[in-house]
Subunit: 354 residues, 2 copies
Amino acid sequence: MSVDTLATRGLVCPAPAAEPGRVQLGHGSGGKMSAALLAERFLPHLDNPALAQLGDAAVLTLGGESIALSTDTFVVHPLEFPGGNIGTLAANGTLNDLAMMGARPRALSAGFVLEEGLPFDVLDRVVAALGGAARAAGVAVATGDTKVVERGKADGLYLNTSGIGLVHPAFRPAPDRVRAGDAVLVSGPLGRHGIAILAARGGIDFEVELESDSAYLGPLVERLREALGEDVHALRDPTRGGLASTLNEIAGASDVGIVLREGTIPVPEAVAGACEMLGFDPLYVANEGVLAAFVPAARAAEALAALQGHPLGREAAVIGRVVADHPRMVVLDTAIGGTRIVDLLPGDQLPRIC
Amino acid sequence: MSVDTLATRGLVCPAPAAEPGRVQLGHGSGGKMSAALLAERFLPHLDNPALAQLGDAAVLTLGGESIALSTDTFVVHPLEFPGGNIGTLAANGTLNDLAMMGARPRALSAGFVLEEGLPFDVLDRVVAALGGAARAAGVAVATGDTKVVERGKADGLYLNTSGIGLVHPAFRPAPDRVRAGDAVLVSGPLGRHGIAILAARGGIDFEVELESDSAYLGPLVERLREALGEDVHALRDPTRGGLASTLNEIAGASDVGIVLREGTIPVPEAVAGACEMLGFDPLYVANEGVLAAFVPAARAAEALAALQGHPLGREAAVIGRVVADHPRMVVLDTAIGGTRIVDLLPGDQLPRIC
């Protein structure tokens, strides 16, 4: 199930066309262009301690409670795909962002932008999936808003979900709490969501049908919390930009280096095959039902057992370690003894995947 | 400053083209079609006690605290207009929704959908306005998300803001707490936002330049709370669909009738003139810096004084009363002794105003 060679092969990544002074598609990629947009266009105007943490959710003190607040807008194309639709994604995505900050999700909001002409039957399936995924996680869609824009001013529908949750007092995973000596784990195989979306766009015929891995990861987080408590240093779900982008963000936030070990990273055969055909690197393909966890190496086996004890974590693996060398850099130790830098991409391998 | 005759004149409201089974522009109007969309397409899948209240925000118990959660997506066209831009609107709009539920806002999230090709200078002004309006209200934009869609898949940018706030334990205004015997107040003159947006779209030359009234209403709410406490039965900001739609919603939620008195409703000359020219009724034009308040008639004078003591409420007025007769119906007593029903419109007078 693990594929090594792909990650070391040449990566086809068309450089985005330069159009100075304007938003480009690559700014939505989760890669270097996204980071630059955030640093140059947003943070100067919105600067505050909560936002500066750049966690998956902000953690705020309201009265006597620690409350996490998270937001995510979903613009995936197509709206429906094997394994779910934009509603599934919008529920699980925001719930996962809360869970990654150690919060137990308590409520979601839903903000729809509907394009004139959207068939009601599509809308019904999306709303049903949103409601179903929220209910499955024990959370209510407690408030909402709907706007309608003229034909040609959206792509069927866009859906923002925001969520709030209660942060557990003795469990505070955060992107800046990772330390040299930590082990890096993933809870499952990489790349299923991104490749499923690509296949659903048609025009490419993969031999095996892949489903999006979209899932609520709260139960895995709960197991890690019970097993390791505060020794869970950081959690993150590698969505847009894939595992490579997530690890780069963590390395930056904690000022550490990360070393991945080739041969240990789980990638399904179908994802590996599709990536090989397309020249993609599975490390950069989006996931919607996988988490990366950072725990002290001495407790990695316990963390692995905790993850593997749940169906969502059956294929969990320890894939690397955190080092003091080369801070802010992620590298891959290859099977033949070499080392490759796993950098942020400038823009997209695959746009509009979430 | 008050205009009576307009409200009793013929209303030009083109019936939306029927396109069965699909979303139409009128579904975003805040009128009857919006209500039907909510009842038929959303509530069946998302039903829960918080959502069923249909307040401007959901009020939830998290740990030991009452927390309000609100969301609103802004799709206004054009993005910039006299008195502000979509960023101003997105901050004040969601902060006001929290304030209307008696909450003190504590944090906002911002979810941007950017269209490829959006000039950075426009984005910068929007983000600066969002940050500035949030700061002015003492609130941080604590978390955010940005997606980019291809050219022709949005209209420059769309912006969702969600917000959380702490609900004051002894102050619980809610749409279903209005009682016969209450007085109806508005905090200021009607229709400035909707008409300013229409003028900014060009093609119509009004003699007087109007600015959007977009403003954070928290200080007015705070004054009402200090003066009347729990006797503030309900608060609502009449945005999309205008005062008429807001009053119909309140009448429905509290199962009461509302009687407005012609000649008491403040409307600026410029709004009145534009509405007369266009055949609009100012009661249905959007506001972004006005609130309607319901308090026992015996305390109306105190409430009026509380509002008028703040610059935003200088032109506040008592405009009507709540009755047990004709529940769920809003009527206007005209100066000549007649009565006109002020119903929900089916669709829009004016689309994409917020």
